[in-house]
Symmetry: D2
Subunit: 206 residues, 4 copies
């Protein structure tokens, strides 16, 4: 199943990437998931968004439904969704476009569509929705809610001035929070069912 | 382009449908869009949802953004989106499943998943999201917002008791309102641009 | 986190479901995932679709990309995706609608739209696409391909005559195969990267 | 409804855009749809894709279903879908990313993910799928088919060498062709139904 070609340090081709960030697969050089995940988390941080900021939103969303919910559980689920390739890629693309728009490096009229955060633009929502759909249709509705209400860091990003462009980033944060919220809900249910099945088994043994 | 086979009254095959509700296309008997649209609007009404109920939600959503918005404009846009085949089909499927669940005619465990409005079910949101995507990614986020906040008739449908099942209907109403809201926003923009281009042309002629 | 209310056998409410198929969560009686999964697999089988039939399609799709691919690996990934709640629910809804259409139990014009497999209907694709989106945008394109080309069991389902309605089922099978194909591709990549990282670690220790 | 602020030539803010490409709306300067559409079509052309190239694919797709189909009808429907804002925006974003990757102007690891056309990347499909969903779930399956089979210009774009990056463009072309194909199918149906209703009315008058 694995490519038999011997790994060689000379194959590392991307300047700026650590030596173990690329590997061979199906005769193509590829960036490892680990390198992509690290880059996605770092990109968020560089733009002022921490895992805790996002976990706070998840906490607010799930508190009414989950007894004894802790921020630590929310952080764990944010970290969990950030391990998904599709979400990592969406983060990298969206933040890159925000930064390029900030530096006025995009061609017109795209430059204006993005730096004005044009209401009918839609590609920011499309990319964020793509990442959200991996966590089910309920994550999609949670995303829509966050995108309108803009709680906490999402609202702060949306209101930033002085040439800062967050057209994609606020949607990405809403997407990550919606994903983590859905992941948490499914895991709580799985835990409940696990406890129930253990109880049933005990009853049967009695 | 059109099928040359002569239409014959004997081809009407669906009991309960008016004679002009079916026609021939590519050698298949088909239900006309007009018959499907009438059935979708009637199904909504039979379940207690009027065009005006939905238009009210559109009005609330768009009022902050559109100067001189009237309820009549909202009604016009709700009617406009109900002309879309994909939305009509979604309405017919969703309401049929609600009614079958109400009559306990579905097999288990589907019967329980629907009549309990199971939070992690998701097919209700999927069908509503499918209908909403025809109106762009922004309609999808509006849908998500309505699905959580449940304003007006959506909330009423969600709270109905006494054996009434609205698992699909509340999502469908949110979908129609989001679609109409998106349609209205695009048309307002088109009107603005039309006025702008006319002005530009006048200036050029001076 | 778990509901503290004691489980009582009297709470089992769904006739036709085994006693351990329901449990309490957030003060609602719920069907367990295990019961839903069993029902989904059984529904497929009752309609003539086995796990192996679907695994065969996955094998054809992934063979050009995965060295030493075995049917057992494909079966494992089909089983893996069938553990997802959203996919189970989509299967139950779609097959129920096919069966109801077969028995002429749906209201007109929905009955005709489904039993004629109307080309512009779309709700069958919507439900199947909803289930597929949990496995990423690439699974969505694979689904689209299978939906047009209709290989193996998908084509057989599409061609069945004598009153058999498979309007939803053929799309669902395409969805499951696309999901399993995407799951397999991601896991093969993960395995490659795991092997690469182990190799790197060995080199560093030398 | 319209913004009353007088238009002033000084408001044109985007260097490189013609004077009538921007206008005022809701107190924001905006790019007109006309300017965006022209830019999208020009961007396609600059990358070697003509309206006719895409119409050819639509022709192949719809020929088995539409009697007397002409290339002119296909061209008309490609032009029709290119008037949609969401599709225009998707084209501008995708082509911009291809061009930036070609010039090695993206940060790592995004640069490598795009210029290697990494199989599990997915954002290219997400953007193209977002544009396609405006034309219904059937357009989505057509897109998936084109994305795998890569007929005509799609395959040529996919195979280009010598530093040319078309990671997004081939998906965008598949999306436009799928949209136009769906638009054509719906319009043919509408025409059939129109002819049928006219016939019915004549019969009634006799």
């Amino acid at each position: 199943m694995l490519n038999k070609k011997e790994f060689s340090k000379k194959m590392t081709y991307a300047p700026g990437l650590p030596q173990d960030a690329t590997f061979f697969s199906a005769n193509k050089k590829r960036v490892t998931s680990r390198a992509v995940e690290e880059a996605a988390v770092r990109a968020l941080k560089d733009r002022g968004v921490s895992i805790e900021d996002i976990a706070q939103i998840v906490f607010d969303l799930q508190k009414p439904f989950v007894r004894n919910l802790s921020l630590a559980m929310c952080i764990e689920n944010v970290t969990g969704v950030l391990a998904k390739r599709e979400l990592q890629h969406a983060i990298l693309v969206g933040i890159e476009l925000d930064k390029l728009a900030e530096k006025k490096l995009l061609d017109e009229p795209l430059q204006s569509l993005i730096d004005q955060d044009e209401g009918l633009f839609g590609v920011d929502e499309t990319i964020a929705l793509g990442a959200v759909s991996a966590f089910g249709s309920i994550a999609s509705t949670t995303f829509g809610y966050l995108d309108k209400v803009k709680p906490r860091i999402i609202g702060e990003l949306d209101q930033m001035k002085n040439g800062r462009v967050n057209t994609f980033l606020d949607d990405l944060v809403a997407s990550i929070a919606a994903d983590a919220s859905s992941r948490l809900a499914h895991r709580v249910r799985d835990a409940e069912e696990g406890a129930f099945h253990r109880k049933m088994n005990e009853n049967n043994r009695e």
